[in-house]
């Protein structure tokens, strides 16, 4: 269920090819929208995110924003727990393209 790990961590440009210009990240989620984590950018940040459970394949839902629009409140997995992440950090969480990532979805 995991994408190739080692290739995921390279600075700046997303590594997985298709449609690089339009890649959506957790930062682009609409309020209440759910996506599935595809991979992570920026090695240092990626490590921290990984440890906190932002693992490729896990669902992530934007449940709220701080009053000034930043940081974001992300619910991970199946309502398992909530993380607070700055928008700039959430921009390192790339989402899978598929349309099936909306709503609750099955496990």
């Amino acid at each position: 269920m995991f994408f190739l790990p080692v290739a995921l961590f390279r600075r700046s440009s997303p590594v997985v090819a298709a449609g690089a210009a339009t890649r959506r990240t957790a930062k682009d989620l609409r309020l209440g929208e759910t996506g599935t984590i595809c991979c992570l950018e920026d090695p240092e940040m990626a490590l921290k995110l990984l440890e906190m459970g932002c693992v490729p394949g896990v669902k992530v839902r934007l449940s709220g924003r701080a009053p000034l629009g930043d940081p974001l409140m992300l619910v991970l997995g199946d309502q398992e727990y909530t993380l607070s992440v700055r928008a700039s950090e959430a921009a390192n969480i790339l989402l899978k393209e598929e349309g099936a990532a909306h709503g609750g979805g099955s496990k």
Partner: protein
């Protein structure tokens, strides 16, 4: 592995086979787990040593330990480690863990670890667990919050999970103490390292890893890999060792980050496999968790800030308005006691007791209600989980000042006391953010300033309603706190432009689930803080009060007698009555005492701020600790006064300047207030800043900067208002 426990019910019979119990020294056991996994609750259950259980990630800053009686014959020392998500530390707080677990030869190396795991959050919790297991540490898994997991429809096949992980698992609910007995029984037995390895360095890494392993004589490959990863931060390695490791890692062109990422992903893959076989989720409720719904309100765009501001305002009202009643009782009690003693006894010893000890003691005891309220309030905010939301609300606001949302918690704790607040800044990963936070936190008005504020505000601000609902004194007090806050933010901004950043700042944080505060913990926090204040600050204050009384009552040579004679000569010429005479005599004697001489020497420097030598003495003594100010002035203004002068308030009001006008004008009082808002007058804060920064430049800069700021600001206030 003898004990395989699959439920609390079957755990009990094992008691009979809890084998050879007596050993030479108590077992040493380390408690480790994710933040908010109930680790500290478990620590309290095991040791009975009740210390604070906070909700905010990283409330455990110092190494806490206690003893647990596992069986009648076996004791164990339990060490509570800071919460962490992995063995690759990011913050200073987490480095405590690797320093403890990497050195098997060290005297305090634990016999085994108890890993607390949140049953609702198995995947992430197991990451840390598998790392510990692979280090070859004997471990027990305390599967916490089972009740919540069951309610959420999470079913865990415990025997299967035990087989997969190779360690005993104890299901429990640490908050309620369920499962603790079973855990103790397992802990009392000799545990072996888990036979299962979750992940091992691959062949490419082996040449490097093996070299390190044999060079340092380590017991396994994974530990050697950690040496390669983190040698720069390992406290016990010598400079030579580090140089050697650097050489080796370069020789094999070891990419620490890529390796750590690959390892973490591989671990998650393995954990997912394990969970697929052992955990089934039959979701019973589809509603959003209560906690998330509360968040909708408490972190609302506008409402969130309003609620936060209201809470702060309530805090100030409480400290000023509600605390007034018990404070009045204490004040009255002390002055009545003092008067009674003076009526019935006389002599220098009695005066030492009433004017020195009792006056100083009164200065301490009177602030108990306010300090209790403040610490109680903060404890409730932390216990409920609200503090983490404050961090979230404030992050964006703090960033322009070079601070992060995480700086808010030390800064709010700074309202209680800068010492624990500065230690609390350890949870901030970024060096620059942390240094700025440490530097500006003492500008937040701590509880030691409350005495000074209270006395002076009550002196010059009438006790009236402002804008209908607010108390004018409460508003003034809030203004002083805001002044402290804004000066802290401004200073942070200045520092941000001065300091060069060495690393980036993070703000990834888990929200703890809201919960009711455990009132026992809140009560305990209040009790411990008040006790510490009365005993520690009290000792200093009483000692200084006594010393001051001596210095203020006696003078060098015949100076006091000469001054008194001079006054008495003028009596006939000026036509003073008896009261006026005794007042002038007392004043002349004090002025010529030892303390008076010190104050006089200081006077030229502080005259532009509107202060006289009496306040000069108070400023001098409060450089040890601010709260001494009130004790000092109550001693100074009591010396030679009639005992029925009553409370400190009345004494200050009665104080006259050279022209017979009240001495404490608004200009003087506000100048003093502003001085106390800014000035660095706390030895303990300077000491803790040194301890946390490991550099004398920081406390020195704090001292010079804050005191300079105080002088300039007080000067400006006095010159404008006078």
């Amino acid at each position: 592995m003898a004990a395989v426990v699959n439920s609390t019910a079957t755990a009990e019979p094992i008691a009979t086979q809890a084998g050879p119990a007596t050993s030479q020294r108590p077992l040493r056991i380390a408690l480790i787990g994710n933040p908010n996994s109930g680790k500290t609750s478990l620590f309290n259950q095991l040791t009975g040593l009740n210390q604070k259980v906070g909700n905010f990630p990283g409330v455990t800053v110092d190494r806490k330990s206690g003893f647990a009686q596992l069986t009648p014959a076996q004791r164990a020392e339990i060490v509570d480690l800071p919460g962490t998500y992995s063995l690759y530390p990011k913050s200073l707080d987490e480095k405590v863990i690797t320093d403890l677990l990497y050195d098997r030869a060290a005297g305090n190396y634990p016999d085994f670890v108890v890993v607390t795991v949140d049953a609702n959050n198995l995947r992430r919790s197991l990451l840390l667990f598998t790392q510990l297991g692979d280090l070859g540490l004997p471990a027990v898994l305390a599967l916490n919050m089972m009740d919540v997991a069951e309610r959420h429809g999470v079913n865990i096949d415990l025997p299967a999970l035990e087989r997969e992980l190779g360690v005993p698992i104890i299901p429990m609910n640490a908050r309620k103490g369920i499962g603790v007995a079973a855990l103790k029984i397992v802990m009392a037995q000799r545990l072996d390292a888990p036979p299962v390895r979750c992940w091992e360095p691959d062949d490419k890494l082996l040449p490097l890893v093996r070299q390190i392993r044999y060079y340092f004589d380590l017991h396994n490959d994974y530990l050697a890999l950690h040496y390669a990863q983190q040698y720069r931060h390992i406290g016990f390695l010598s400079a030579d060792d580090k140089a050697h490791l650097q050489e080796l890692t370069q020789q094999y062109s070891f990419d620490a980050m890529a390796q750590q990422a690959a390892e973490t992903i591989a671990r998650y893959a393995r954990i997912n496999e394990i969970l697929l076989e052992t955990v089934t989720v039959t979701r019973t409720e589809t509603r959003e968790p209560v906690s998330n719904r509360i968040d909708k309100v408490l972190t609302h765009r506008i409402g969130g800030y309003l609620i936060f501001l209201s809470i702060l305002f309530l805090l100030f009202q409480a400290i000023f308005a509600w605390a007034q009643y018990p404070m009045d009782w204490i004040d009255l009690g002390i002055s009545t006691l003092s008067a009674t003693i003076q009526e019935n006894f006389s002599g220098p010893l009695v005066r030492l007791l009433t004017e020195g000890v009792l006056a100083g003691l009164g200065g301490v005891l009177i602030f108990i209600p306010q300090i209790a309220l403040l610490f109680g309030f903060l404890a409730v905010l932390e216990e409920t989980g609200y503090m983490a939301r404050v961090t979230f609300l404030m992050d964006k606001l703090m960033r322009p000042f070079g601070l992060s949302g995480k700086s808010v918690v030390p800064m709010i704790s700074g309202l209680a006391c800068a010492v624990p607040a500065i230690m609390g800044a350890r949870t901030i990963e970024s060096w620059k953010d942390r240094m700025i936070t440490i530097f500006v936190t003492p500008l937040m008005s701590c509880s030691a300033r409350i005495p000074v504020y209270t006395v002076l505000v009550a002196l010059v601000v009438p006790d009236e309603a402002a804008w209908g609902i607010f108390n004018l004194r409460g508003v003034t007090l809030m203004g002083l706190y805001l002044l402290g806050l804004f000066s802290a933010l401004g200073s942070a901004w200045v520092l941000k432009t001065v300091l060069k950043a060495r690393e980036r700042s993070y703000f990834i944080m888990e929200f703890p689930v809201y919960q009711w505060p455990r009132w026992k913990n809140v009560g305990l926090t209040i009790y411990q803080k008040v006790k510490a204040f009365v005993l520690q600050a009290g000792k200093v204050i009483v000692a200084i009060s006594v010393l001051l009384w001596v210095l203020a009552s006696y003078g060098p040579g015949q100076k006091q007698e000469n001054a008194e004679a001079q006054v008495r000569q003028q009596v006939a010429a000026q036509g003073w009555n008896d009261d006026e005479v005794s007042r002038r005599v007392a004043s002349a004697r004090l002025e010529n005492s030892y303390a008076g001489s010190f104050g006089r020497a200081l006077e030229p420097a502080i005259r532009p701020l509107g202060y006289d030598w009496k306040i000069g003495i108070a400023l001098l003594t409060s450089f040890a600790a601010r709260e001494v100010f009130v004790g000092t002035i109550s001693t100074i203004y009591s010396v030679g006064q009639d005992a029925d002068m009553g409370t400190l308030q009345e004494k200050l009001r009665a104080e006259k300047d050279a022209n017979g006008q009240p001495f404490f004008t608004p200009a003087r009082a506000f100048s003093l207030l502003v001085f106390y808002v800014f000035a660095m007058q706390c030895m303990s804060t300077l000491a803790v800043t040194y301890r946390e920064t490991k550099n004398w430049k920081w406390p020195l800069a704090q001292l010079i900067y804050m005191t300079g700021l105080a002088y300039v600001a007080a000067l400006a206030v006095y010159q404008v208002l006078a």
